[in-house]
Structure formats: structure tokens, C-alpha cells
Amino acid sequence: MKYEVLKLLSKNAKYTAEDIAVMLGIAQSEVEQYIEELEKENIIRGYKAVVDWEKIDGTYVSAIVELNVVPKAGLGFEEVAEKVMSYREVEAVYLMSGDYDLNLIVKGKTLKDIAWFVAKELATIDSVTSTATHFVMRRYKEMDVELVSGDEDDRGQFFL
């Protein structure tokens, strides 16, 4: 049941404990207890809005930045990963398999912001050997939410 609670919250963090209790057919106090535990155990790491930034013109640009890194003896990729994730421009950091090592999602207000950030901050890190920046042109789906309106409900209002 704890897992079911988690699944529902990951779909919509605004579900109240009461909503979840009703949907799962369990006591509200049970749901509240699960949520408290999940938060304490750091399994739930936060609750944030899914924002369609494109609706707010000129305030949001993002890019995927690939980094090639020389891993340090004994530290592997940890040192550089920890360094890059501390920047507020960096939204996500992933260690990758395949052609490059670290994948970053970087955000800024303009293309230039990001370009400068990559050139000045990321490319200059000692163990970073190369960078490749791909600007996001359009966001279709974010955190499971379709931002480009998909199919409308075409069922009409009544059908017996």
C-alpha cells in the first residue's frame, strides 16, 4: 500500500491524504503515516509544480550538456559530478553509459547565459575534456505531463 500511495503522489502531488485514502480504500491515518515515513526516509524528495515555461515568453531556455570526463583515481566521477550539481543553473546530472560520461540539464534565461555558463564554468573544470551543448527547442512532455495538448476528449457529453 505504501507503494500505491507513492505511485498516486508521483502522479499528482496535490492529492490529499483523504483523496488517497478514498481511492485506495484505506484509513486516512494510514495514508498520513505512509507519507510521513516516505518523507522521513527521503524517498519523497520534494513536491514541485510541473511548469510549462514556454507559456512565459523569454524567461526560460534549457540545454542538454554532455561532458566527457577523466575519472579521478579512487573518486571516479563523483568529484566532478558533485561540483557540477552545485551550480544553480544545473537542473539535473546523470552519469551515462555510452559515448560520453555526464549528462546535464542546464537552464538559463537566454541562449547566451547557457553558452557562457558552459564555456566559463563547465569547460574549464580540470577533468572535463570536452563538452557538447544541445539546446532544447520544444518541450513536448515533462515529468509525465504532456505539455503539447494531446488528443481532446472526443467522446461527446452523453452516451448511454
Binding site: V22, D153, R155, F158, F159
Partner: protein, 389 residues
């Protein structure tokens, strides 16, 4: 000038158009309506099913099939019914693939009913049984099932409706609109009444996959003594979210099916080929998809039932299908009045219970084929409405 009054079949012109048609038409012209009015799933047909349909088209499978339907599909239906509901039908001559469950109901009634024959129809129930019976020249005999019996058909009600002219009984469970199901002990008592009669059962099991609270659907044909007198109707629309594919099936004893297939052969030829190929995939590989959808429906069901009760509209727990059927008697309004006022003042669309028979008076049907967020919004508007009246 042609006089259409003289041209048209009187039996057909005598069928009154559903009274709520007008209400629906008004609603359709309104903007920003939050509807709980539809009777079909909001889920997409699972992708593997759509893909199977596409691939059959790519392979050029676009000819008629056998009148009975594709052999492979009939075999899968046979396996499925055995696996799920413990009933056995020979794919060779006891299973007919039809254009939706609707055609199967039409065929069953036309094959059984002649002029003056009586068909027992429990209501509130789906809207097609009465007019189709009338078109065949038969006489609908309505049983008004009761809320206090959870809208189940009782043996006593059935017994008192049977006459010398009774040819068939419709068993429309799980029920649209009430959500009622018939459990094994209920069906056993029905079987006792029908034993040693020449009365057939047309069991409309289109919602068979959609039962809740740990209650599985029981097929009447699985009850001892019932197989020989039952035409089992089912289909793909509700369980697999395939309403637009128009595919269902009728199953029954060979002597009955031999006649039913004749009507199908002359009226329809064969059911849509693409849909048949897609349906094979549905039966073979979609148990998980069905389970997923069922789980979503169950959460919505709890949400809507609890919501109605909380705002003061008594709502029994629907154990099957995907409708809540709350009582609106506490408002003092008729079902029609309630629905009309709710639509105009809060732009929420629900269906008056009377659309499903007189015994639906005092109730409305609210479908929960919508997201939880949609349902919550509708409920909060209904709550406002109740406070204002």
C-alpha cells in the same frame, strides 16, 4: 409528394424516441461542460491491439471473413470464456462474432421472438432491449428492480412476470446504469425458476471484466442447468476499451446459434475484419492492460461514491460496470429536473435515471470513465449546486 407516414413501418414509428434526446442536444451546444455522461472508457485501446489491426491492414487482410468470424478469433474467445468464466463453447458452431454486443442482442431477440411473444426485461437497464423487442413484434414485460435489492433481479419478481407467452429473459448484469451484479447464489435462485421451462436467457455480459470489491463476474451459463437455455453476449468495447471497433460475440447451444447465424449472414455478412484481427491480440496478450484499467476504474469508483455520499446524495456501492447511480430523492426534484437544472446552473452533465426505465426515477447515472481530477471537479460543482437549491 410522398407520404412518409404511409411509407414507414408503424412498429418503428411507434417507438418513441428517447425522451432525453432533446436534453442531450441542448447539452451538446453548451461550452465548458464537465460531463459524467458517457458510457465508454476514456482509455486508448491498448497499443498492441491497435498495432495488430494496423499489421493486418498492411498484410492486406481486408476481405470478408467466415460468417461466424475468424476461426482463430473464435478459438481465442472459447479459451477466454473458459479461463475467465468457466463456460465452454465450441468455436466451430457455438460462437458467432458480431458487430458489437449490440448486434448480438439484436440477433438473439430476433431469433427467439415472434409476434406476441413476451420478453422479460429488468429495469433500470440499458436502453436497447425494449425497442428491439418491439421491432420483432414481441411484447416487453418490464420488471422494476428495487434499490433495496441492490437492483438485482429476484426469483420472486421473475416468477410473477412469467406467463405462457414468455419466451426470453434479459439478464443485463453487470448493470448499466445501476452497477448491480448477480452473484452465484442469486443466479442459482433464478435457475430454479427457469428449470423445466422453455424460456431462454439472453445474458448481456459486456461489463463482465469490470467487477470490483473482489467479486468476480459469474456467467449465468456456468450455473448448472443454465447453459442449455442461455445466449451469452459479450464483446470487446468495455473491457479492452475498443468501443469504436464494433466487435462483440454471441455464444449459445448449436440449434440456437444455427438460426442466429442465418440472420447475421443475411444482414451483416461478417464482422469487420480489421477489428477481428485486433481482437485476437486483445484476448491473447492484454490481461495486464485490463487489470491496469480495472485498477484505475476502482480508484475512481471509490472517489465518486464517497464523494456523492459526502455531499448528501446517497449512493450505493456499484459492484460492476463503470457507473455510480446516486439517489437524488433528497432534493425533492425529479431526475429530469435535477439533470436539467444541474446542467444549466453548473454545467455538469449526468444522465437522468429515467432514461433507463421508469424505475430509474429518483436516481441519476454518473459515469466514472474520467480522470480523478475531472471527477473531483464535477463533484465540487454538484456540491455547490446542492447548496444553492
Amino acid at each position: 409528394m410522398i407520404d412518409y407516414g404511409k411509407v414507414l413501418n408503424k412498429t418503428v414509428t411507434d417507438i418513441k424516441p428517447s425522451g432525453i434526446r432533446k436534453f442531450f442536444d441542448v447539452a451538446a451546444t453548451m461550452k465548458d461542460v464537465i460531463s459524467l455522461g458517457v458510457g465508454e472508457p476514456d482509455f486508448q485501446t491498448p497499443w498492441v491491439i491497435r498495432k495488430a489491426g494496423i499489421e493486418s491492414l498492411q498484410r492486406g487482410k481486408t476481405k470478408y471473413t467466415s460468417n461466424w468470424g475468424l476461426v482463430e478469433l473464435r478459438e481465442e474467445i472459447s479459451n477466454y470464456l473458459n479461463r475467465k468464466f468457466n463456460i465452454n463453447y465450441d468455436p466451430k458452431d457455438e460462437i458467432l462474432v458480431t458487430v458489437g454486443g449490440s448486434e448480438a442482442i439484436d440477433l438473439a431477440l430476433r431469433a427467439l421472438i415472434g409476434v406476441g411473444d413476451e420478453v422479460i426485461i429488468p429495469q433500470p437497464s440499458y436502453v436497447c432491449y425494449e425497442p428491439i423487442t418491439a421491432i420483432t413484434g414481441g411484447v416487453p414485460v418490464i420488471i422494476n428492480t428495487k434499490a433495496e435489492n441492490d437492483f438485482k433481479l429476484t426469483a420472486e419478481e421473475l416468477k410473477s412476470a412469467i406467463t405462457d407467452k414468455t419466451k426470453a429473459v434479459i439478464l443485463p448484469y453487470p448493470s448499466n446504469p445501476t452497477g448491480a451484479i448477480m452473484e452465484e447464489h442469486d443466479l442459482v435462485t433464478i435457475a430454479k425458476v427457469l428449470k423445466d421451462t422453455n424460456i431462454m436467457v439472453i445474458s448481456d455480459e459486456i461489463y463482465a471484466e469490470l467487477t470490483f470489491s473482489g467479486k468476480s463476474h459469474i456467467s449465468p451459463a456456468s450455473i448448472p442447468g443454465m447453459w442449455e437455455r442461455t445466449i451469452t453476449v459479450n464483446g470487446f468495447s468495455k473491457a479492452f476499451s475498443m468501443t469504436g471497433w464494433r466487435l462483440g460475440y454471441a455464444c449459445g447451444p448449436k440449434p440456437v446459434m444455427d438460426e442466429i447465424v442465418k440472420i447475421h449472414q443475411y444482414a451483416i455478412m461478417s464482422s469487420p475484419t480489421t477489428s477481428q484481427y485486433a481482437a485476437i491480440e486483445a484476448l491473447k496478450n492484454c490481461d495486464e492492460d485490463v487489470q491496469y484499467m480495472l485498477k484505475q476504474y476502482d480508484m475512481r469508483r471509490r472517489m465518486i461514491v464517497s464523494g456523492f455520499n459526502k455531499i448528501g446524495l446517497t449512493c450505493r456501492e456499484p459492484k460492476g460496470a463503470f457507473y455510480a447511480f446516486p439517489s437524488i430523492k433528497s432534493t425533492g426534484m425529479s431526475s429530469d429536473e435535477f439533470c436539467e437544472k444541474l446542467l444549466h446552473s453548473k454545467k455538469v452533465a449526468v444522465v437522468p435515471g429515467t432514461a433507463f426505465g421508469e424505475s430509474g426515477e429518483g436516481f441519476v447515472r454518473a459515469s466514472y470513465c474520467y480522470s480523478v481530477e475531472h471527477i473531483k471537479e464535477a463533484l465540487s460543482r454538484i456540491e455547490e449546486f446542492l447548496k444553492e437549491i
